[in-house]
């Protein structure tokens, strides 16, 4: 996926972040989201290793060897940041104090089942903090391609891969469209140009309804 498309997805995701929120970002496209926040948005980015208030990556050469994100990569902090141990970082998640997690996925079902941690027969890397985030963050947003590298839909009726967590995803943003997931199922709300609803349907593995006013995003 090109940088431009990745940024378009990240920009749309950034719209979901409201003032005062606590947000956990996965690796990949989610890490681009902060670049698209309006100036002056008071948001605290949360990391599982015990940071509340992560800032951008430091300039090369200014990395601090004792300051990294949950993936082990150097970060900075913003004013009002704090450090805690991992139990408290996960306490924030389980207690429902993390407003949103934005992450990637291998598959998502129309019911919101998330499968993003394991491909059977391949290496099993372990679940890390994915299950806690999927089960307990107040809102789960998935950013991913509409299809896998073979062209198969990643939004499916039933996940074929082992679940990270069932019925946890609230929103999916792909390069083609934005979907909301509620107890009523999957609803397409936004369409990225130049795609048509029929094109999206052809690349989605389950049925979905169309919102009353579909927004078209250039």
């Amino acid at each position: 996926m090109g940088v431009e498309i990745r940024n378009r997805i990240a920009k749309r995701a950034a719209e979901e972040i409201k003032n005062g929120m606590i947000v956990n970002l996965g690796i990949g496209i989610p890490s681009l989201v902060p670049n698209h926040l309006p100036a002056g948005t008071n948001v605290m980015f949360h990391a599982e290793n015990g940071i509340t208030g992560m800032g951008p990556s430091p300039e090369k050469g200014k990395e601090d060897e004792n300051l990294c994100n949950a993936g082990g990569f150097p970060v900075s902090i913003v004013k009002g940041a704090s450090y805690c141990d991992s139990t408290i970082a996960f306490g924030m998640i389980r207690r429902g104090r993390v407003d949103m997690t934005i992450l990637g996925s291998l598959e998502v079902s129309g019911k919101g089942d998330l499968a993003n941690w394991i491909v059977p027969g391949k290496k099993v890397p372990g679940m890390g903090g994915a299950m806690e985030l999927a089960q307990k963050a107040k809102k789960v947003i998935v950013l991913m391609n509409q299809t896998d590298k073979y062209g198969n839909p990643k939004i499916v009726d039933e996940c074929t891969l082992p679940l990270t967590s069932a019925r946890c995803v609230n929103m999916i943003i792909t390069e083609m469209a934005v979907f909301q997931i509620s107890s009523h199922g999957l609803t397409l709300t936004d369409l990225f140009t130049p795609y048509s609803i029929n094109e999206v349907r052809a690349k989605t593995g389950c049925s979905f309804t169309i919102a009353e006013n579909v927004r078209v995003i250039n």
Binding site: T52, G53, G80
Partner: protein, 230 residues
């Protein structure tokens, strides 16, 4: 002070979040570390039929003890009430229900509520009827344990030395006690603080309670009681 996160509020605004019959959890241990201004606010606003959760019943005129002494609590969950004879009298008279939990286990139950853990297993007081009560047990490795359930509250009130506008808290000496635990366990947490400092002026390593857990900050009018030892 810049109120960037709209968390800094006046006492009267904070009081609008309370209701009769609420479950209120309070920080403090032997009176020290319980927020005096918020306690006075609760009293002045006449809130009653409260369920109070915290370490102890304070002293009759100190800490949560004032709320208990004025008959505002219908129930208390605590580890002891020995320092507040009024609490004992209310319990004996059947006017306040008291549920006792061993002190360290009570603290863990509050923490469990704060970090979203449903329960812990415990071997403290296993052979003691007052501790075991009707509690569920769990056999693990051939041994019996008590299932000690998490405690949460509608509102948690805590007392801190300093806060920044995000609600990051730093406590003072032994007034820390149960406050960081109680701060996590409330569905809403209100911190009474001795000083509010600008965002970025607290050392991020020295913050004990991350502001994530704090919804509102109320400036303290100061400790206003006579100590038990006076």
């Amino acid at each position: 002070m810049e109120n960037t996160f709209n968390k800094i509020i006046e006492l009267d605004v904070a009081m609008k979040h309370f209701r009769d019959g609420m479950i209120i959890m309070f920080g403090g241990f032997g009176g020290i570390g319980t927020p005096p201004t918020l306690i006075d606010g609760i009293l002045d606003n006449g809130y009653k039929d409260l369920t109070l959760i915290g370490n102890d019943a304070g002293f009759p005129h100190i800490g949560i003890g004032k709320v208990v002494s004025q008959g505002r609590a219908k129930k208390m969950i605590a580890s002891h009430i020995g320092s507040n004879p009024v609490a004992g009298q209310l319990m004996t008279d059947g006017r306040m229900e008291v549920e006792f939990s061993p002190q360290g286990i009570l603290a863990e139950r509050i923490r469990a509520g704060g970090v979203g853990i449903p329960a812990i297993l415990s071997d403290i007081g296993l052979d003691n009827d007052i501790v075991t009560g009707n509690k569920q047990t769990c056999i693990m490795g051939g041994k019996k344990y008590l299932v000690e359930t998490a405690l949460t509250a509608n509102i948690s009130i805590v007392f801190a030395k300093k806060a920044d506008p995000y609600g990051n808290l730093v406590f003072d000496k032994s007034a820390r006690n149960t406050n960081p635990l109680v701060a996590m366990a409330g569905d809403m947490t209100i911190a009474e603080v001795e000083e509010i400092v600008p965002l970025g002026s607290l050392d991020p390593d020295e913050i004990i309670t991350p502001g994530v857990f704090v919804n509102y900050i109320v400036p303290s009018k100061g400790v206003n009681w006579k100590w038990a030892w006076e």
